[in-house]
Structures are given as structure tokens and as C-alpha cells.
Symmetry: C2
Subunit: 212 residues, 2 copies
């Protein structure tokens, strides 16, 4: 498999965790987001959305981190990324999507660039924007973690799921932008525990060959 | 089943289509987004994210439209919302997520309100923002539709999938904000064909009891 990735892309970070948990080897093709490499024609022909990550498996390209992870889970079932029962699966997916649909896209680099460019937003405004959406999203997530995380080691159940795989990169991003995480002790405890798992640790941005 | 919905919520619109396609009856609990009903305590106790929609089934609440639709598909398999093969499933999910993760959240009411409020953006700036993200997202989607839609009746395959269910409400929104859709003839043709299907037509915002 080949992963179109970038060390600081948190959606790529998710897929790196997922590949590690499944024990799947892969080669990396780095696309430097800051230089617009993801928008060049040689990549948009691969992924017309021009977003990172994409996974190439046996010549087929799959975009979107959640779709990639469900694909990995269907083609390599162990260890599973979702519980066995439909209600548990729905709960885990809804937590993952609370991050992947309602937090992360709002704070993506292209959005911050649009704020800086077309809206002439200054640094304080952009940082305020970033922290606002982290705060709104994490408030709901903290309550979900309190309800669902019995172990305080995993968001749901007794092993990593899509919820955990999405949580860790989002907490990483929140720390990078120095968001106040004091109101979210459950999320912080979960993320700290998860980050110590070798498959998560090996996927962290600073451990990637294209980190700079 | 009970659906927490709002006639103009395009994420709720998706779930209404999905319930109709599965032939499932449901009662509606309307939460007027413009009045902040989704942020009141009687709803955030149900859905801590404070977002519409949520589905209550047998006393259990599921949030996030994509998670709800996967749940419906797992608990009521016919007609299926996804192809049978993993690659097809991944492709359909990636198209649905291109809309649900990378277009819709950026143009959500709460985001437009933040632009107007905290960033003091005027109407032209907000409309420009809206159309920008539609344009960026639809450009990639149009190419995906050209590649995958053989029938020009469905985005993928020969029956409605999650991709179609996400497309129609997004095109509805784009029209509402008078986005130029001329560059996306395949998306427009698909949406027009889909909107004529009775289960889609019955889900449209103006057909809902809480429409105003």
C-alpha cells in the first residue's frame, strides 16, 4: 500500500495509526501542504479533492480518512476498529465523526489560509477561530467520553476504535494551538493513555520521515 | 423511531431520505436552529454535541447523520446504502464524506453566525465564504461523478447510496445560496434525477411539517 501523507496532516495521522494497528506495512508519498503539493496536477489526478490523505491499494485510490479506515477494517478485520453490535458501532462512528466532520474541517490549513487571505484576519482572530471550534467540539466530546469511557483508557470499550484514532490527532492539534484543555480532563487522560501505545506513538507527526 | 430534525438542516434532510428509502416510519421532533432550540438543555442532554439530527431508536440516541445512516443500513439491510465490495463501499463513503466532512460543516449556520458575529463579516463576505467552499468541494465532486457515475442517474452503481443521499441536500443548499452550478453539469443532472425519486422528494425541506 502507498499512503499520500504529510507529517502534520491530522487526517493522515489517523490513517497512520490505523495502518500501524492493523500491522500493515506501507510506503509514504509526502505532499507538503504548506507548499501546495496536494493541489498540483500530479496529485489531483490521483485524488480529485486535492486533500491529504489518500491510500493506494492494489492500484486503487481511496480518499477520506474515515473511508480509508473502514476499508482497512473490512479488508483486514483484526484487530477491529468498531464494536460488534450496531449500536456500539453507531456510537463509535458518531464520536469519530464529531471530530472528523465538526471540528477538524473548520480548522484545516485551507480554512485558516482563507481567513488570513480573503477575510484579512490577523493572527489573534485566526487563533481565536481555532480555539473556538476546539472548545465547542471538545465540550460535547468530554461529555461523551464521561458517558462512554468506562476504562478511561479507550473512548469506548476495551480496545482502540475509530473514536480513539480520531481523538489523538485532534488533541495533538489543540495542544499545538495552545488551546486550554483544562475543561476536558477525560479527553486529556484518554489521549495521554493512547499516545503511549506503540502503534499510536509511531504515527505521531514528529516521528515521520518528512517532519521538519 | 424518533428523529430530532429541522426542516432546513441538510444533515437532517439526509436522514429523512435514508429513513424513507428504508421504508421506516418515524416521528419528528423539530428543533428550530434559528432560535437555538438545539442548544437548550433539554436537547443537549439527549445529544451533547447540540447538533441536528439525532435518531432515537428503542431508547438509544445516535448522533451524526453518517453514523445514523450506517446504523440504519446495518439494522435494516434492504435496500442497501453501500455496494457489496469493500472498494465500492470505500468509494461511496469517500464521496459522502467529501460532502459531509469537507463542504457542509464549513457552511453550517453556526459557522456563518460566527463569521457575522465574532468576525463582523458583512453579507457579501459571508456569501463569498459560502460559495467558495461549495466551489472548491463541487469541483472535486464533479470529477468524481464523471469517473464513477455510469448511469448518470446515481453517483455510483445502479441504486441510491450514501453518496446520493448526501449530494441532494448539498445541491439544495448551493441553490439556496445562489451558487453558480454551471461548472458542475454532472452533479446537477444527478441531483435532478434523484430529487424526482419519491423517497427523496418526500424528504425535501419544504415538504416537512415544521417548514416555514
Amino acid at each position: 500500500m502507498r499512503l499520500y501523507t504529510f507529517w502534520r496532516s491530522s487526517a493522515a495521522y489517523r490513517v497512520r495509526i490505523a495502518l500501524n494497528l492493523k500491522g500493515l506495512g506501507y510506503s509514504s508519498i509526502s505532499k507538503a501542504l504548506g507548499k501546495g503539493a496536494h493541489l498540483a496536477a500530479d496529485y489531483t489526478v490521483v485524488n480529485p479533492q486535492g486533500l491529504i490523505p489518500a491510500l493506494e491499494d492494489d492500484g486503487h485510490v481511496i480518499a477520506q480518512s474515515l473511508a480509508i479506515m473502514e476499508y482497512l477494517d473490512e479488508t483486514h478485520p483484526l484487530p477491529p476498529f468498531l464494536p460488534a453490535d450496531p449500536l456500539g458501532r453507531a456510537t463509535v462512528r458518531s464520536i469519530a465523526q464529531a471530530i472528523a466532520c465538526d471540528i477538524h474541517p473548520l480548522n484545516n490549513l485551507r480554512v485558516l489560509n482563507y481567513l488570513r487571505g480573503s477575510l484579512a484576519a490577523d493572527d489573534a482572530t485566526v487563533t481565536g477561530w481555532y480555539r473556538h471550534w476546539i472548545g465547542v467540539g471538545f465540550a460535547g466530546l468530554e461529555e461523551l467520553a464521561r458517558r462512554h469511557s468506562r476504562s478511561r483508557r479507550f473512548f469506548y470499550g476495551e480496545a482502540p476504535t475509530l473514536a480513539d484514532i480520531c481523538l489523538v490527532p485532534q488533541v495533538y492539534n489543540a495542544r499545538r494551538f495552545e488551546c486550554d484543555l483544562a475543561p476536558y480532563p477525560t479527553l486529556v487522560a484518554l489521549s495521554n493513555a493512547l499516545e503511549a501505545i506503540p502503534e499510536f506513538a509511531a504515527a505521531r507527526p514528529e516521528a515521520q520521515p518528512d517532519a521538519s
